[in-house]
Symmetry: C2
Subunit: 121 residues, 2 copies
Amino acid sequence: MKYSKQRQKILEIINNSYNHPTAYMVYEEVKKDIPDISLGTVYRNLNSLVENNMIKKISLETDRYDKNTDHCHLYCIKCNKIIDIGLLNIDTMIMDNYNFKVLNSDVVLKGICSECRERKD
Amino acid sequence: MKYSKQRQKILEIINNSYNHPTAYMVYEEVKKDIPDISLGTVYRNLNSLVENNMIKKISLETDRYDKNTDHCHLYCIKCNKIIDIGLLNIDTMIMDNYNFKVLNSDVVLKGICSECRERKD
DNA sequence: ATAGAAGTAGTAATGATTACTACTTTGAGG
DNA sequence: CCTCAAAGTAGTAATCATTACTACTTCTAT
């Protein structure tokens, strides 16, 4: 991977983010510094950062990205909140039971969070 | 939900399937019986069957469908095999630790299966 | 029987992502 | 320092799964 200010900036944005941004959200953020960056460039760089294990892709309706590569997520289908959780040794359980190496690249558990369940609507 | 032969046939196909078909695969199969069925009809009915918890959607690159609604899947990113596994009490673990109701509508753990790991290519 | 709610076929639209093309930048070896 | 091929980029077109829309048809409760 060669240096490029575009990829540098994209990585920096992910590393400073706490909102699990989509590719488009990253695109809009980079444009503040590099106004004529291309959306394709953002997608290409996000992909290569994921391949190099520097960031993590979260597969929801629209893919989202996370600087932390060592945990998975709870996604509330009511309020769209994304909750970070530890791996809970899911991978170890699967390996022991199924001899299958889980990469956990995008484990997302969808459901309803405690606040939304209390609200009951 | 009103009766329709299209939905009836679609459900029958899922119930007789063992290959986790995509919407398009279902479409091609229904066409053998109902040649002028519309792809949109297949999508619409698959969605309502999922909503009524009669089948399950598996979210991969392209969505796939399963007659069993009570387990999750291992997906080998090398050979594209889909392995059915029990729920392993993941939902209970998450509820105990995070007070989050997992619906498990599409838990898919991606990784590399034992055969592919032995092959080492 | 019949009305109106639900379903359908067929096509157009959407929206995320990737492919393509011609141009630019980077960096390793002379 | 040059230099030049490999890697990267902008901008646009294309792809592909899925949904929306429209006018027509079929159920089913009364």
